[in-house]
Symmetry: C2
């Protein structure tokens, strides 16, 4: 075999942080395994060239106990292994080891050389606030549903939400392009309704239709929605891939804020010792893939996230990632109007509070129910929530 070629990598590396299970020797073996499995995926003794060993393999740069059965390892990889591509970056971070129990990806730190290849969120917190003209308070959000209503019925709900002062109205993530509720008709009617309501209120309520769709149609749906007057998009990257959300975020003809929905993503965080940590997934990965708002199940609702896991998501939405904008955490999932004070205390102003069904539970006047929600948020807004202060 000709062994003349030599690698000339930059030496620039990115860092991934893992929690590894087992007693010390097993966890350390897992850390060393990551260095091979996530790069060459090849027995170390058979690697045919020394420069591959020296330059391509991952390197454990720290290994510390969290308790007797869990260790935190920081591992560096050459930026060249990720190419310029989000799917390949995810592959190096967690491709094959996703299949092995005892490895959990907790976060990552990318140098500017690698971050420069990703635009990230087009709007982020400040850009979205500017579009809405809403400052110094949490943003208000709701979903139009249930599936089965006609586009005209959904548009009437949206009109009332906009009249009531909701900032962000999203489609239910189950509204796609169904025979009983076609995408184009729905998006046009609801966009018109929200525009008319904004004219009455003087506010800038944004309607974000669900554009989650076959990947060869999703950009077309985004562009259609923008032309119809929509102000944002709902995308479920669990259903279409993180890079498909990135594609929408990068499209200059789409160019509206993206709300990221967690559908089909639950398995990533389900196992406490495998999978991906909440902050790494809902915060860092979704942010890198272009989300401006990341929706996740709030603690204490009908889902199962803990306060600590929700804190970790907040961390991921705002931790330093080069020039990538911080994005909004948006707790959701069975949230109730009578919990607004508590939510404001926990999340603080830099959040999007999403209340769905419960807005329908307080009498038939939806706009009035929204005004009550808005009033409670104004009364309870607090610059920094406990979730941030505690950290």
């Amino acid at each position: 075999m000709n062994s003349t070629p030599h690698l000339h990598l930059s030496g620039c590396r990115f860092v991934a942080v893992y929690h590894l299970s087992g007693p010390r020797d097993e966890a350390l073996a897992r850390a060393e395994d990551i260095c091979l499995e996530q790069t060459v995926e090849y027995p170390e003794d058979l690697i045919p060239r020394q420069d591959i060993r020296d330059q391509i393999l991952g390197r454990v740069t720290s290994f510390e106990p969290l308790d007797d059965e869990r260790f935190e390892a920081r591992i560096e990889f050459p930026i060249e292994t990720a190419g310029d591509e989000l799917p390949q970056l995810l592959n190096v971070l967690f491709g094959n080891i996703s299949i092995k129990p005892g490895y959990r990806l907790m976060g990552f730190e990318l140098p500017q050389e690698l971050l420069a290849r990703f635009r990230g969120p087009r709007f982020g917190r400040s850009g979205l606030r500017d579009l809405l003209g809403a400052y110094d308070r949490p943003l208000l959000s709701t979903a139009i549903k249930p599936m089965g209503l006609s586009p005209a019925e959904l548009a009437e709900y949206a009109r009332q939400f906009a009249l009531g002062g909701i900032d962000l109205i999203k489609d239910d993530h189950g509204l796609a392009d169904q025979p009983f509720c076609r995408f184009e008709e729905r998006v046009q009617l609801i966009s018109d309704a929200v525009r008319q309501a904004n004219h009455e209120t003087g506010l800038n309520c944004i309607y974000a239709p669900n554009i989650t769709a076959p990947v060869d149609q999703i950009v077309d749906r985004a562009r259609f929605a923008r032309r119809a007057g929509a102000g944002g998009y709902l995308v479920s990257p669990g259903l279409v891939g993180f890079d498909t959300m990135r594609l929408v975020a990068d499209d200059d003809q789409a160019a509206l804020p993206i709300l990221c929905h967690p559908a089909f993503m639950g398995s990533f965080t389900m196992s406490p010792t495998g999978g991906i940590g909440h902050g790494a997934l809902y915060g860092q990965i979704c942010r890198l893939a272009g989300a401006d708002v990341v929706i996740f199940p709030n603690y204490g609702g009908r889902f199962s996230f803990s306060e600590e896991e929700c804190r970790d998501i907040i961390r991921g939405t705002e931790c330093r990632m080069g020039d990538l904008r911080p994005i909004f955490p948006s707790p959701a999932g069975g949230m109730k109007v009578d919990r607004v004070a508590e939510l404001c205390r926990f999340y603080g102003n830099e959040s999007v509070l999403l209340i769905g069904g419960d807005l329908h539970r307080h009498g038939p006047n939806l706009a009035e129910n929204c005004r009550r929600f808005a009033e409670l948020v104004r009364e309870n807004s607090t610059p920094a929530g406990n979730a941030s202060k505690d950290r």
Copy 2:
């Protein structure tokens, strides 16, 4: 609210099968929750129209104990809820409930009305055998690696594999488009090397480059590879989304067999009581999304699947799904030449045996090592493996 509109759904429904955790009453509550959560995602008492209750909601059609703490529920959904779209079908099957512990998707049955919207595998088992001219035995597969070798070095490996009688040579899934190994150069050199070897042997060895890439580039990479002479593709749907693999499978200018790699998919099966069952994921979903061969970690290797889980994958690759072709299960992950007899007994002829690094461990003559692998497979081939017989 105007309640004039009425739903006129076909009444045609598809079935999803779940394993639900908990004592009987809790598990039954989970089954009933699925009916709402996966359709209207709305409190039942607030649903504004009776026809939505009657026609849109999921229905539990059976609920049986597996043991004291686990129940199997069959739930029917109207085909209209899925539209004509794979992402939305996945959303109805497992979108929001993916985030709730205690719900595991084990399989699904789609009526012809819904299946007709998906092409599925373009080749399947019989189509791939016809391309290779290889019948009545397991197919032989290997990967070219490690990352860090130049395209010319990888091409030399590929040439030797092809000379040695390997049927399917795939890129390592970590080879993307990196500065030290560019996609186009690699694909061209390796395609040329395999073509030349085929000319010498008279065989039809297929080279499947890794086309996993940003979603807006993946179809272009597939078409480039085909023009360069590649005979198949490697796609990791965990990294780019199942619908992106479907897009490649459906592209008439790409039109080559797809090998599906499990990178980043491990979290789906990691939790025993949540996530997706092995057969539903690696078998049914990957098949619906157009894979012709599905690669997964064999039992007893460095990953963690059990024999029973591998059997479940086989089931998913060949169970009745309307006219969708059966596809090949391809056990991989630390497989060794000296286990070939056992693998043949377990998997039988309808499999693709993928041995990577171990082919390099038996002396420097790679082609000779492959011939030994091929010889062992011929000696041990058996029409139906134990894995199928046992079921």
